[in-house]
């Protein structure tokens, strides 16, 4: 199995190549078969590899150092494919590296990817670009797998940019609408800003450490850089720049809501489950650096905390179902960042796993709703769908509950609780942000549930949900609820399997477990969540009039609109960066430098004209000039 590691990204890539070259000539069923098969096989392979990896790991009794002080993980599979770049003093291989962190990501990506592609075979059935869609999706999965399996930062960067590209392609999938194109461009360019910082970080790492191999970078950094050193800080900051761009954290979050212009499965896979969490992956992957730069690690936490509140409030005010989910994604990734920031490494990854399930589920369900309601995105024009779409209701409810972290019965609860309980012992302020966020999350989750499924029916749904779309919904709903049980805290009598697995790679959260504090934190989270659900229930289901009242004209409405517009970041960036850039570029369209050369030409022409006047054909003038020339020469000779 170990030798087949390369096949995991190669299978979707092969799917892409087949579809890109021949897809337009293939019947739709064949296209669907290729796409699903490629991902399905990859998923199966990943499971097989994973089982062997874990088995082997357990057999060697490999355990994380208890103190978490020996920072560089050792248990990993490497598969070197070929030397990519080899210049004097710079070597970079195409090398795959499987450790427990990447294993978790690979499993989630292939599984969720397969589910979503299966769903898409139904969802996209009527679309013109059927094969193109699946080609892109397969390419995306291939790139995402490259990203997480890369054993070299340059290869990681390839995957990193590759997923960005696929995101761009899929956001602008319906290319005829300029708005989609704009959203796609925005997504690419904003993330590219972060990527550039990332790239500079790579230059720094390479220049200082002489390698980009993940393992080597981590061990050399640990060996050469003292904690808190400037270089480590700079490197960590630059990589963080890449991470916040990709993961849509403050202040580079503005692209994600617009990215909802793409087909809904794309939003589910790329802009919820996988790609946007690449930033989390990167920071976790480079955790040694962040431990060497504690200020930056704190910054990660602060960004996460700020983002989760910011995005939660924005999500609360959205009327577009997908935008609401997008802000919710930003907010949930904020939780992951917060987790990384407070050193709850595995908790963050755990939240990634549960989030992947429940958020993709929510998007897929939203896709069904939107499609069956004639492309209606406005939640206030939905309503009363409980009876018309029971399957969708129950699955959506499962997702929303998990998102809201309904205590004990949902996966989201376990991950969020783990994050916050570790945050409690690390940073109270961040903890309170998290708790506040939990309240908001519960509020907006159940706002959605209430507005969409209860109340009056405003738009009549059409058709039925096909089985290929229903199946992923059900599977993901089960996981959204049950996935938490892979990592039940010992406090609740469970066995934290995922945490143990991740601790093969990531440092454990530390030993300062304070049971009382943990219980307190858990209780607080549970209660705020329940309170949030209750308020949502009250306002949006029992007393819909209240919801109107909240947004009455006045200051509150202003605030409401401000949050609705994502706190004006778009407006600000537009004025600060976009318009000056575009304006300057347009202003100088004809290249002012050229005017210098044009003026030389102009001067020549004018001189030509003036000189031509001297050629007036007058004999006596000619003689005069000759005489003057002679006199001038004499004058020069005699007087100078």
């Amino acid at each position: 199995m170990r030798q087949l590691l390369w096949l995991i990204p190669a299978l979707p890539l092969a799917g892409f190549v087949i579809l890109a070259l021949a897809g337009r000539a293939m019947p739709r069923r064949a296209v669907a078969a290729v796409a699903v098969l490629a991902l399905g096989l990859a998923c199966a392979l990943a499971v097989g590899v994973g089982v062997e990896f874990v088995a082997q790991g357990s057999a060697t009794q490999w355990t994380s150092p208890a103190d978490g002080q020996s920072p560089v993980p050792a248990y990993a599979w490497r598969q070197s494919l070929w030397q990519w770049v080899g210049v004097d003093g710079f070597k970079s291989d195409v090398v795959l590296r499987l450790d427990s962190l990447s294993l978790v990501f690979v499993l989630v990506i292939t599984f969720v990817g397969a589910m979503i592609v299966l769903y898409s075979t139904g969802f996209m059935w009527g679309d013109d670009g059927y094969s193109r869609f699946f080609a892109y999706m397969n390419l995306f999965v291939a790139m995402m797998l490259t990203l997480v399996l890369a054993g070299d930062l340059l290869l990681l960067y390839l995957g990193w940019e590759g997923v960005g590209l696929c995101s761009f392609l899929l956001i602008g999938f319906w290319y005829k609408d300029p708005a989609n194109a704009r959203a796609a461009r925005k997504a690419f360019i904003v993330t590219r800003l972060g990527d550039t910082a990332f790239a500079i970080g790579l230059f720094l790492l390479f220049t200082r450490l002489g390698t980009l191999d993940v393992q080597e970078v981590l061990s050399r950094a640990a060996a050469q850089w003292p904690a808190g050193s400037t270089l480590a800080t700079a490197a960590a900051l630059l990589l963080l720049g890449g991470a916040i761009g990709k993961s849509a954290q403050l202040p580079l979050q503005t692209w994600l809501p617009d990215a909802m212009a793409g087909p809904t499965p794309v939003s589910a896979l790329i802009h919820a489950a996988t790609m946007v969490t690449a930033g989390v992956y990167l920071i976790a992957r480079m955790h040694v650096l962040y431990r060497l730069a504690p200020q930056v690690q704190l910054l990660v936490g602060i960004i996460g905390g700020a983002t989760l509140v910011y995005a939660g409030l924005s999500a609360l005010t959205q009327t577009d179902l997908k935008r609401a989910l997008a802000y919710s994604t930003i907010s949930q990734i904020g939780y992951m960042f917060l987790a990384l920031g407070v050193g709850a490494w595995s908790a963050g990854i755990f939240h990634f796993v549960t989030h992947a399930f429940f958020k993709s589920l929510l998007f897929l369900a939203a896709g069904v709703i939107i499609q069956r309601l004639h492309e209606e995105h406005d939640i206030f024009r939905m309503g009363g769908l409980l009876r018309r779409m029971p399957l969708v209701f129950w699955t959506f409810l499962a997702g929303a509950a998990s998102l809201a972290a309904l205590p004990l019965v949902t996966a989201g609860y376990y991950s969020k609780d783990l994050i916050l309980s570790e945050a409690w012992s690390s940073n109270k302020l961040l903890w309170s942000a998290g708790v506040l966020g939990a309240f908001i999350t519960a509020l907006y989750s159940f706002r959605l549930v209430g507005v969409i499924f209860f109340g009056q029916e405003k738009t009549a749904p059409r058709g039925r949900t096909p089985a290929v779309m229903a199946l992923p919904l059900v599977v993901l709903a089960v996981l959204a609820v049950a996935a938490g049980f892979i990592n039940v805290p010992p406090l609740l009598g469970g066995w934290p399997g995922l945490t143990r697995l991740l601790e093969w790679t990531l440092p454990s959260a530390g030993i300062h477990h304070d049971v009382a504090a943990e219980i307190g934190s858990s209780l607080a989270v549970a209660l705020t969540t329940l309170a949030g659900v209750a308020v949502a229930w009250l306002v949006y289901v029992r007393k819909p009039a209240w919801s109107e009242a909240i947004v009455r004209p006045g200051l509150r409405r202003l605030v409401w609109r401000w949050w609705n517009a994502g706190w004006g970041f778009d407006w600000l960036y537009d004025r600060l960066f976009v318009r000056p850039f575009v304006g300057l570029a347009r202003l100088n369209r004809d290249d002012f430098i050229d005017s210098f050369f044009d003026s030389v030409a102009w001067t020549s022409r004018q001189t030509h004209r003036a000189l031509s006047l001297t050629q007036n054909g007058q004999l006596r003038w000619y003689a005069m000039v000759m005489a003057l020339g002679a006199i001038l020469a004499l004058g020069v000779a005699i007087f100078i």
């Binding site: 000189l611 003038w621 000619y622 000759m626 004499l634 000779a637 005699i638």
Partner: protein
Amino acid sequence: MSWNWTMADAQALLPLMVVSAAAVVVLLVLACCRRAGVAGILPAGETPATRIGAVLTVIALAAALALLPVAGAAAPRSVTFLVIVDGYGLFFAGLLLSACIAVALLGHSYFRQETSAGGEFYVLLLLAAAGAMTLVFSRHFASFFLGLEILSVSLYALAAYNRASLAGLEAGVKYLVLAASSASFLLLGMAFVYAKTGTMDLGRLAQLLNAAPQPALVTVGLLLIMVGVGFKLALVPFHLWTADVYQGAPAAVTAFIATVSKGAMFALLMRYLVGVNFTLQYPLLAVLTAVAVGSMFVGNLLALRQENVKRLLAYSSIAQLGYLLVTLLAAGPGGRELAIRAAGGFLAAYFIATLGAFGVVSLLSSPQREAESFDDYRGLAWRHPVLAGVLAAMLLSLAGIPLTVGFIGKFYVLAAGVNANLAALVAAMVINSGIGLYYYLRLAIALFTPSRAEPPPRVAIHPAGAAVLAVLTVLLVAVGVYPQPLLRLLAAVVAL
């Protein structure tokens, strides 16, 4: 003065004598022919007379050319105190004679249907050639003046040769008045120099002037001489006549003025200034530098958007002579040989390209109609593809593009300039090459663009002219690709 005529002197002077004698012979033959035919063998009349004149002229010029190596066997040799026959002079004489042959053939093509043209063209041409050869061999003010005037007076007549043409008349009058005025400047200058130094012999003058600081009167005299020379070379500010005369004169004559007349005068100038190791003193140096730079800029800028091809070539020749002056200024102690060879190489290239360009003009023209406006050349590639190609090649050569001899010439001059550390002049030359490119290419590309106006009728191409152009084009490319023979020749014979 003790001086004995020897066979060696005769041998050295043979080419010059052949040309001079030919002028007389052709004159007589023409007169006889026109009256009676040649002893009844040929019918009397204008056309055969012209043809005989042409044949005789070409034969005489070719003979003189062939005799150059014979004369070279006796070189270097001073024949009387007036004339020196040396490798330098012989090289330029060869250039001049070759150019004269080309001009004779081009003239023959040009006057083909013109019965009234008579054969005097060839007499005047031979006379002018004799004058020009005298100039390149001159080593004394007297021979200088004589050669110059023989050349000039013939040219007045040649310029106004088209009897029906008002433009020809205008060209002749302008040339006469201005040339005569400039000649009087020159004479006055000679007189001043002579008054101060008591000699008109080149070698002696050089010794005198190098020995002592230059007296003011001599400086004035030299500068006045430079007026006359500058006029002949059409250097700024004595250049105003150029365009008008080039335009008004028949194309073949224009080719002669542009090449032979200027080449001879430059050869003389170089001999006088460089050949005798005469160190250029500051005033003259400054004036010459200013003249060189001015000629480049003024010539090129005047040509910039010129719509008359003959005028354009006239202005371009002003600039070309400006480049050539760089060699003169570069002929300091360290770079003398290089500069002289560069001048020879550049002039050879200039001769080929200029003769070729005016040759095309001449082939397209007739005494009734000069093909001189841009419209005559637009779309030439369709009417006369070969002629268009030849003209384009000539223009590229004038612009100094590789694969043509012009590149070799320009390279040589640039090398001389760089060798002598003449940074400013080199920079001026480079910039002017850019300006020059504009109009050369402008004309070249016009050949390949469809004409807007009614295209002029296709003219028949005379074989003599076509042969000249063929030879010139072959030379242009051959020397451009493999300049070694030319360089060897220059190295072997051209030294002062």
